[in-house]
Amino acid sequence: CTQTIAPMSEDFQRGYILDEAALEQVTPGMGAQQVLELMGTPSTVSTVGNQSWYYISQTARRRAAFMRQEVVDQRVAAIYFTPQLRVERKALYGLEDGVIFDFISRETPTGGAEQSFVRQLFRGVTSWNPLVGGGS
């Protein structure tokens, strides 16, 4: 699905390269090992009891050199397993399933020595070059 690519913009394949054909061959009852051979290692697995595998595939576009990469296409193939690690069902989430909201800006505070401006500046100043033209 290569849309017409404006001269300045650049596309990036991010995350898993989803192969529709391989996903088709994954059928309920199939063993986990077989899924691994077909699809490869999943991008990530469920937080608890890793019985669901997620293959996350994105296409990001950068419209101009200074812009940020913006996700223009996102497909997540999810494969759910029974406790005996047999394929139970699979699902495909598209970009439209996603929800856009702002992430919380608060961060858990951490310690560690912050660089003091003066010490860092002078430790950094070693290219002492008297007489050689500095220049703007």
């Binding site: 994105q58 996102q74 929800v99 919380i104 961060e107």
Partner: protein, 270 residues
């Protein structure tokens, strides 16, 4: 390269005259070292102890002087020297008394150089290993208790680094990178304060992708372990609203930009 003074073509070079350098008795040097430490002249104190070790090798004075030299260097802030000296002590006198103290100095030398989480955490990992070795090898040393406290901080710092990178990827909506970093925190650093935020971020990431059941599991684990946490309240609100309501009093683009700008300028005083 040659030092600046090397550029003067006029100097005649160094000359030699015999001069007796008297080596004073070990005890006198040792006491002088201790008084220098009390007066805060750590570098000269370290030199006295080094003199003892050189002049009276293999004596008991030399052993005690070596550990005192490590302490003097540590107190003076010369952490690279103090960790080298401490390591030398551990090689020369492994089992003997004061070995736990040397191990403690070695660990603290790394600990005092732990940078903030946006920078390389090698020092943190080394401090963690050194403290763990102190606990394993000298279980009844009286530094074990402090070592345990420092380990908690060091692990918190390593978890903080994972979170920093996780947030970097989350902001860029690279969910694979973000989720795996937060999973590392939940899996390997669950006793640190960051595991709450990690679970909340997992809820956010899965919600952003539209995988609601995974978001619910993460929020459930968070609620179960940290019911009072503000992170849980945020995640709960996110799930309830399906991501549609504003989540915090997100001020406008301008003030966010301004905050970004002040953070850069305020950093000057940092």
């Amino acid at each position: 390269c040659e030092t600046v003074s090397a550029l003067n073509p006029f100097g005649g070079g160094e000359t030699y005259e015999p001069e007796i350098v008297e080596t004073r008795p070990a005890a006198e040097l040792y006491n002088e070292g201790l008084s220098l430490i009390d007066r805060g002249q750590y570098q000269s104190a370290a030199d006295r102890f080094e003199e003892i070790e050189e002049a009276y090798p293999f004596s008991d004075f030399a052993r005690r002087a070596l550990v005192m030299q490590a302490y003097a260097q540590f107190a003076g802030g010369a952490y690279d020297d103090s960790s080298n000296t401490a390591q030398r002590y551990l090689q020369l006198y492994p089992g003997q008394d004061d070995a736990d103290y040397a191990q403690y100095i070695l660990a603290m030398s790394n600990y005092n150089q732990i940078p903030d989480i946006t920078r390389d955490q090698t020092q943190t990992a080394q401090a963690l290993r050194a403290f763990q070795e102190l606990i394993d090898r000298y279980p009844n040393s009286d530094y074990v208790e402090d070592a345990r406290a420092k380990i908690v901080f060091a692990r918190d710092q390593l978890a903080g680094k994972e979170m920093e990178v996780g947030r970097f990827y989350l902001e860029r909506r690279n969910y694979t990178g973000a989720i795996n970093r937060f999973r590392t925190v939940v899996a390997e650093y669950q006793t640190t304060r960051h595991s709450e935020e990690a679970l909340a971020r997992l809820t956010e990431a899965y919600m952003a992708m539209g995988i609601v059941d995974e978001a619910q599991t993460a929020a459930a684990v968070l609620g179960h372990n940290f019911p009072e946490s503000q992170w849980y309240r945020d995640s709960y609100a996110l799930l309830q609203s399906g991501g549609l309501e504003p989540r915090e009093n997100r001020d406008s683009w301008i003030s966010r930009a301004f905050r970004g700008f002040t953070r850069a300028v305020v950093g000057v005083g940092g």
